[in-house]
């Protein structure tokens, strides 16, 4: 359960978030969408306590993110940022192993290793397990970082543009994994997505931001209409339905 109350944030003179409040119940996939600079990443970073809270309150599982010890929170939420570990010369298995740090504090137990191997297999990086991260392609590295976040095995998972650099099949596979973890393990997953059709197909709920404010919030079927999209992105987009799922034809 994530509770955001009256959160505002400014980077220097620029106000990035204006009085945002929302509640995300336990279990399910929530997609954050919106144009560049809408404040999506800032909101995610604030929930993940990577940025200091300037105004308002945020609770995860009832714990205030700005006043709970980092070790405690690291067992409850994992966050994937857009720009992690690019030049690191760690092997993929070592990197994913560090995802277990909140639980093991260093030495990996047999259980930790099982989590690592599962994550390596789940995101198709088993074959790269002994490669150094700095020798991987962008998409391979992205999968390794997602595997690391998954290995952390937290009830809440925050992902900032997880589909970055992924080819379409790996992107689809990732979204299916997210869906499956939300359904089978009741994980709460919040992801910033730019591919609105992945949000339409796999999310339970879409929260749309524009200029630091929540401008739309609801199930994909209700939210993805030309009228709402026009409010979010500033121009109307054509929406069709295939097997009941809305498909936004943004490229036409």
């Amino acid at each position: 359960m994530i509770l955001v109350e009256n959160v505002s944030h400014a980077h220097g003179p620029n106000r990035v978030l204006h009085d945002v409040s929302l509640a995300i119940p336990r279990g399910g996939v929530t997609a954050l969408i919106g144009p560049n600079g809408a404040g999506k990443s800032t909101l995610l970073s604030l929930i993940g306590r990577l940025l200091p809270l300037q105004a308002g309150r945020i609770h995860v599982d009832g714990l205030p993110v700005d006043a709970t010890p980092g070790r405690e929170l690291a067992k409850r939420l994992a966050i994937l940022r857009q720009d992690g570990a690019v030049a690191s010369r760690l092997r993929v298995r070592e990197l994913v192993g560090f995802g277990r740090f909140p639980h093991s504090r260093g030495r990996l137990t047999a259980e930790d290793r099982a989590h690592v191997e599962r994550a390596l297999a789940a995101f198709d990086v088993m074959g790269l397990a002994d490669r150094f991260v700095d020798t991987l392609s962008g998409g391979q590295r992205q999968r390794a970082l997602i595997a690391m976040a998954f290995a952390q095995d937290t009830p809440v998972l925050l992902l900032d543009e997880p589909l970055n650099n992924l080819d379409m099949l790996h992107a689809r596979e990732l979204m299916r994994r997210l869906r499956a973890s939300a359904d089978a393990e009741a994980k709460t997953i919040v992801a910033v997505l730019h591919d609105i059709n992945h949000a339409a197909a796999y999310a339970d709920r879409i929260i749309a931001l524009r200029e630091g404010r929540v401008v739309a919030d609801g199930a994909p079927c209700d939210l993805l209409t030309p009228e709402t999209l026009s409010v979010v992105f500033g121009q109307p987009l054509r929406v069709e339905r295939i097997d009941g799922t809305p498909v936004v034809l943004h490229h036409l």
């Binding site: 993940g48 306590r49 990577l50 010890p69 980092g70 070790r71 405690e72 929170l73 690291a74 067992k75 994992a78 966050i79 940022r81 992690g84 570990a85 030049a87 690191s88 010369r89 760690l90 092997r91 298995r93 070592e94 192993g97 560090f98 995802g99 740090f101 909140p102 504090r105 260093g106 030495r107 990996l108 150094f132 952390q152």
Partner: protein, 325 residues
């Protein structure tokens, strides 16, 4: 993460240990006064020479080399830049300035007290370096060592000016140019603290590795980023201060040893730290040996030999990387 945690038990680890023992034995036997194994059999005075001079010198080279290598590795994790070491981050120059100040203000103070002053100055100097280095654009990795070189030169020049004014230039030269020829029993033992610091780095290896992934990843994994940064700074500063005070600054060890090791086995400090200690110790010992034999019976300071050998190795690392892509 821990499968190869104890390289002493692995086969490459045994080979490395044997190589170091061989180098150390050579170091015990090479010098102006002949100490051949044959003479050791019949002459007790030869043994005295070994224990009073040769063994301390050999141990000092091993301790200083291992310490500088690991300090470089930790420094590179803190700054997230592979081209930073204590001579290119103002650490050594700050330590020399610190011991100079201690000598001016408290000339009667014991060596450990002066070392403490050097460590405090190194800590302050390196903290300022890191604070500024973090503001440099990460897209320009060469800016950080470039800035560090200039920053270190400024501190070094200011300290040299003070040394000049106070007639301490000769001392200052001793602190800034590494040399093992003056090492005797009773005058190097402080360096054992450097070994303790290497142990601390190994103990904190997992957390230092996470630190090298940046602030966001560290925070996300529940690591106290600021506290870990402070620990790393203390490790680097204490090792630098001890080396500067006891034998004088030795360049390039902290650059070449970690880069060689991480190129081959990666950034995980759990593996990289012991190997970096070994490579740093061996490199320093070899350079000291070269300095002893190249103009026999005269000696060339290890700092000078390392300047040449280290620079060549470093160039090879830089351009070898490009050739292999």
């Amino acid at each position: 993460m821990t499968a190869l945690a104890a390289p002493r038990l692995s086969r490459p680890g045994l080979a490395a240990g044997a190589a170091l023992v061989l180098l150390a034995t050579l170091s015990l036997l090479v010098g102006v006064i002949d100490v051949s194994p044959a003479r050791l059999m019949r002459d007790p005075e030869a043994w005295e020479l070994i224990f009073a001079s040769r063994l301390p010198r050999t141990l000092a080279a091993i301790l200083a080399g291992a310490g500088l290598g690991v300090a470089g590795l930790v420094m590179q994790a803190l700054s997230r830049n592979r081209f930073v070491e204590s001579t290119t981050a103002g650490t050594d120059q700050s330590a020399a300035a610190g011991v100079l100040l201690m000598t001016i203000l408290f000339p009667a103070a014991a060596l450990p007290v002066k070392t403490l002053g050097a460590a405090a100055a190194a800590l302050a100097g390196t903290s300022v370096f890191l604070a500024i280095a973090q503001r440099l654009p990460p897209s320009q990795p060469y800016l950080v060592p470039l800035f560090g070189l200039i920053y270190g030169s400024v501190i070094g020049s200011a300290a040299l000016f003070v040394a000049w004014q106070t007639d301490l230039v000769q001392y200052f030269a001793v602190w800034t140019r590494g040399e093992f020829s003056g090492v005797l029993r009773g005058r190097y033992e402080l360096l054992w603290i450097s070994a303790v610091m290497v142990g601390v780095a190994w103990w904190a290896a997992d957390r230092l590795t996470i630190l090298s992934l940046g602030r966001d990843v560290s925070t996300g994994l529940g690591l106290d980023y600021a506290a870990m940064m402070r620990l790393g700074l203390v490790i680097v500063s204490v090792i630098s201060a001890l080396t500067v005070v006891v034998v004088g600054a030795v360049p390039f060890v902290g650059l070449v040893a970690p880069n060689l090791v991480t190129r081959l086995i990666g950034d995980d400090l759990r593996h990289a730290a012991p190997w970096t200690a070994f490579v740093g110790a061996s490199l320093t010992l070899v350079c000291d040996l070269i300095g002893r034999v190249i103009r026999f019976p005269y000696e060339i300071p290890v700092g000078v030999v390392m300047g040449v050998v280290g620079a060549l190795l470093f160039l090879w690392l830089l351009f070898g990387r490009r050739a292999r892509g």
